[in-house]
């Protein structure tokens, strides 16, 4: 498969054996199998948000940080020296760090420069994150602009095929927003239990999973913390849980990861 100059759009019978995939023997997919003892070690999690405050005690090391901006018509991606102007990204990063302490955190700042051009910047930031090949991308944000939907959809599919898991906040308002509605991403709403490692599979999509999102102690600007509620904070919980599972099972593609999360959800019998 590696070294093929053309896409594998067909399979000749003599090649069937050549694409045999090594996998662990079929066994019960339990919570313990999925993430027991995992720390997220070796997995990269990108926070696509407002930046991350450097040196925050609840966040720790940030492996890389860039800021995406619109300079006239041109999109720029520069090293981010400003950190986080509003606190939202730092809050998300702190949640990932708390749940998956071994994961490497990366920051792509797409918020904070006002609302003008925010859709273009969001798309460029997501494109950058997918190109970097991060394992997990946390998107505690969405857009309502339909003109961005097609490109956003293509990016979400590209991420899906490149094994980058997009974890996106759902929202419970009577308007359409994206990318959380796409089936190629994991969409997250909130439950109000205090357990950061409890998640639920929603039998009534489009919201696919519920994770902790109520009264969450989160990292805040200036090294502080604050109690927050919202799907913005449920999303990094599930992103971190993805990192935990991937750190034990690097072989999982996004559709397999989604299936494992379903089977080990608290309401599906595979819970703790």
């Amino acid at each position: 498969m590696s070294g093929r100059a053309y896409p594998a759009w067909s399979l000749r019978r003599e090649r069937a054996q050549a694409i045999a995939i090594d996998r662990e023997p079929a066994e019960a997919v339990t919570w313990e199998w999925a993430l027991g003892g995992a720390t997220g070690d070796g997995v990269s999690v990108c926070i696509l948000d407002s930046g991350i405050e450097a040196g925050h005690p609840l966040v720790g090391e940030v492996a890389s940080a860039v800021a995406v901006s619109l300079d006239g018509e041109e999109i720029r991606v520069d090293e981010d020296r400003e950190g986080d102007a509003c606190g939202h990204g730092t809050a998300c990063a702190g949640i990932v760090r708390a749940v998956a302490p071994g994961a490497a955190l990366h920051s792509v700042r797409v918020l904070g420069a006002g609302s003008t051009g925010s859709g273009e910047v969001l798309l460029a930031g997501l494109r950058y994150a997918v190109e970097q090949g991060f394992d997990v991308v946390n998107m505690s944000l969405s857009t309502t602009r339909r003109r961005f939907v097609e490109v956003l959809h293509e990016l979400a599919d590209t991420a899906y095929f490149r094994r980058t898991v997009l974890v996106a906040s759902a929202h419970n308002m009577p308007v359409e927003s994206f990318p959380w509605r796409f089936s190629s991403v994991l969409s997250v709403g909130s439950h109000d239990l205090p357990d950061p490692l409890a998640w639920y599979a929603n039998p009534e999509p489009p919201v696919e999973f519920f994770a902790r999102g109520v009264d969450v102690e989160v990292a805040w600007l200036g090294g502080g913390s604050l109690r927050c509620t919202g799907n913005s904070f449920a999303t990094p919980h599930l992103a971190a849980i993805c990192a935990l599972v991937l750190s034990k099972h690097r072989e999982l593609a996004p559709f397999q990861l989604k299936s494992v999360l379903y089977q080990t959800a608290a309401n599906v019998g595979g819970g703790q």
Binding site: D49, S50, A85, C86, G87, H88, L111, G112, A113, G114, S115, T116, S118, S140, L141, S142, T143, T144, R145, R146, S169, H171, N172, M173, P174, V175, S177, S190, D192, V214, D215, W220, L221, G222, G224, L226, R227, C228, T229, G230, N231, S232, F233
Partner: protein, 212 residues
Amino acid sequence: MTQDGELRAAVAAGVLGSEQAHAALLQSIVEVARAIFGAQAASIFLLDEDADELVFEAVAGEGERELVGRRFPSGTGVAGWVLVTRQPLALDDLGKDRRFARDAAESTGYVPKALMAVPLLHDERALGVLEVLDPPAGSPFGLEEMELLGLFAGQAAIALDLLQRARRAKAVLDGGDDALAAVARLTATLAGREDDAGLRLLAALEAVLAQK
């Protein structure tokens, strides 16, 4: 807006009523929101896209008299993030955070302990933000409150949309001597009359013009 859109907006202005009526609707929404949540205050911010700023459009409770009309950059503050992320959220223990307390005190003169904020979305556009500050002691905002506020947000977004349309329409009505403004002014005048003499005149004029 297209010329056709402007004309329709201008015509609608004659029918839909004044900016004062829409402002009263927004005021009513924040007052009901404040009462239902037993909150100290509730406010609606409108996004001024040209200036990229959020403007206090209606306030009930704390700050009611002095905040309306006050502006701040759209990407800052809790209202700013709610606007750009399109995500509702609630925050608690805000008084503990010195930076937040200082910023809030500087911008509004009031430091809430807790707040809940939701984006006002209409069709594809984010028009502004609805905020509710300080529920009764000991009852932080939870999922139920967030969902209820989301319902309110739908109503508030429609009201904000009407207000913006009325303002654009007024700008057209006030704007110069071109044919579009003249037609719009005529329509508004006709809509304001109690008899149908004007409409009959227009119908006659239309018939004459149609004959060439």
